[in-house]
Amino acid sequence: MTTAPAPSNRTSADRHRVRNLLLTAVTYLITLAFLFPLAWMILAAFKTEAQAFATPPVFFFTPIWDNFQRALPSYLPALSNSLIAAIGSTVIAFVLGLPAAFALAVYPTRRAQGVLSWMLSTKFMPAVGVIVPLFLLFRNLQLLDTLPGLILMYTTMNLPLVVWMMHSYMTEIPYAIYEAAKVDGASVSQEFFGIALPLSMPGISATALLCLIFAWNEVFFALNLTSADAAPLSVYIGEFKTSQGLFWAQLSAAATLVVLPVLIFGWIAQRQLVRGLSFGAVK
């Protein structure tokens, strides 16, 4: 919203400016309050254990790297598991979801909206409603504590998101482009690979980012379907909490390593994130 038209009266302009400055200050304060817990954690990662525990809290100190060095050996295998699970599930979700999104956007039948709604409704399914049979199935199929098992579930989580977001991006491609292609005798697959895919690249990258973040941060399936071999970062930090719970500096270093990649990605893609998070419903 733009500020009101310039008032002719000098004192009212001053009052306006003071009010605006105050509101800005309040905005900064609230945002900083929201950032504080994270900043406090990252600071603690560079402290000695004594400094991290100290009351009154230590605000100024010489930063050390020891905590990161100590957290690293157990972090790296979990990092590789998280990366494989997140990237693997994102790729599969796209392979399955992109053609569906394309068909629903470019060849909408009467049932298309129903199919879309149904896909979204699978997100209404609480994980606890399916975890018991999945656990038993995974146990029988030897999928417990394996990366393929984890990728399978993360794909389920991300697939409706891919279909919805990519449908929303692909409906924005002007239909005249497809019509022109049809006149030239393009097949469905040519339309898909030649028009829809290249033109929705920005949407693809935004959606992929969102899928990666969700898979990276997932906790429930990770904790209940993996234990050691396939344990991703959420399990790593959960175990760190129990075994190193009293070592705040070290715990903070581990948590910082877990959170930082997602934070950086999220900051870069903040705008697309918002669109994705609302399934493109609020633009």
């Binding site: 399914m125 606890v128 903040q270 609020v282």
Partner: protein, 309 residues
């Protein structure tokens, strides 16, 4: 369990379906995704429904007698379970209201021109991106701890007795924690909603001499309803499933003070191996989630239409 409430509809053009012979039909493009989702969500859910009719414990997997609705009866008659249901509602409802109020205020504050606005908006999403267990760990140890936590130091500096947050006010603590996580989501969606409000509408209202409150009530709020709907719907679904934050901070305690349905089912299935009971609770959670989501959406759209008129 899969009745979809009226989800926001993106406009689709309606070209005639091509009648020419093509090798790759649109239906063939949709089916793989549909099949995958059916196999990994609908099939397991029906198996959950099936298991819920049996007395089935993994400790003694050989005997699995059919007991009809006894698991449900057991769940619905134990007063302790009503507490867990109440916890689930209080946790989700409390957090939802707080995130809407704080997030709405933040959105209004951010919807002005000022120095550093883009940076603040970008940084604001941070707490939403933090893994739930990490949220729990930071809050439990470094903020809420009654001995060395930051909040304890603040209260001491103000001459107050530090509060044992997780011991004395466990539900409030968990709500605070999850509100911290979800307020940025609400704020950013609501901000996007505000930004799509045409300037000329506000200017017209101002020229007509509308007070800021009237302006908010009659122009901003009706326009905001779609964004509010999205926040309510997405948060309701997510907040009813809160798990990592509780796992990482209170483990459902003290007692069952912060046990919600997902945590309860995890305990029944993976600590007590009571598959039958956990399944019944899972079925109830799915039904409960869907009823609530549909009801909330109806409630909101009714209010929106009555105000928008």
């Amino acid at each position: 369990m899969t009745t979809a409430p009226s989800v926001p509809v993106t406009a689709t053009h309606a070209p005639p379906a091509p009648k020419r012979g093509i090798r790759l039909t649109p239906a063939a493009l949709i089916w793989p995704a549909m099949l995958y989702l059916i196999l990994t969500t609908q099939v397991p859910f029906f198996m959950t429904v099936y298991y819920s009719f049996f007395r089935y414990n993994l400790v003694d997997p050989s005997s699995r007698p059919f007991i009809g609705l006894a698991n449900y009866q057991n769940l619905l008659t134990d007063p302790q379970n009503l507490r867990i249901l109440l916890n689930t509602v209080v946790l989700a409802g409390g957090t939802l209201i707080l995130t809407l109020v704080i997030g709405g205020a933040l959105a209004l504050l951010l919807n002005r021109e000022f120095l550093g606005r883009a940076l603040l908006r970008t940084l604001l999403i941070s707490s939403f991106l933090v893994m739930p267990i990490v949220t729990a760990v930071i809050w439990k140890n470094m903020l809420l701890s009654p001995t060395s936590g930051f909040f304890a130091w603040v209260s001491q500096s103000l001459g107050l007795t530090p509060i044992d947050w997780l011991g004395q006010a466990p539900m409030l603590s968990v709500i605070m924690m999850i509100t911290w996580e979800w307020t940025p989501f609400a704020a950013l969606i609501l901000l996007t909603g505000l930004q799509s409000l045409p300037d000329d509408q506000i200017e017209a209202a101002r020229l007509d001499g509308a007070s800021p409150w009237q302006e908010f009530q009659h122009i901003v709020l009706p326009h905001w309803m779609q964004a509010i709907q999205v926040v309510v719907l997405m948060e309701t679904i997510a907040l009813l499933q809160v798990y990592g934050e509780i796992y990482g901070s209170t483990s459902g305690g003290p007692g069952i003070a912060t046990t919600n349905l997902p945590y309860f089912i995890y305990q029944k299935a993976f600590a007590e191996y009571n598959i039958g009971l956990a399944s019944a609770a899972g079925v109830l959670t799915v039904i409960f989630t869907n009823i609530l989501a549909v009801y909330l959406l109806k409630l909101i759209s009714r209010r929106a239409s009555s105000q928008g008129g």
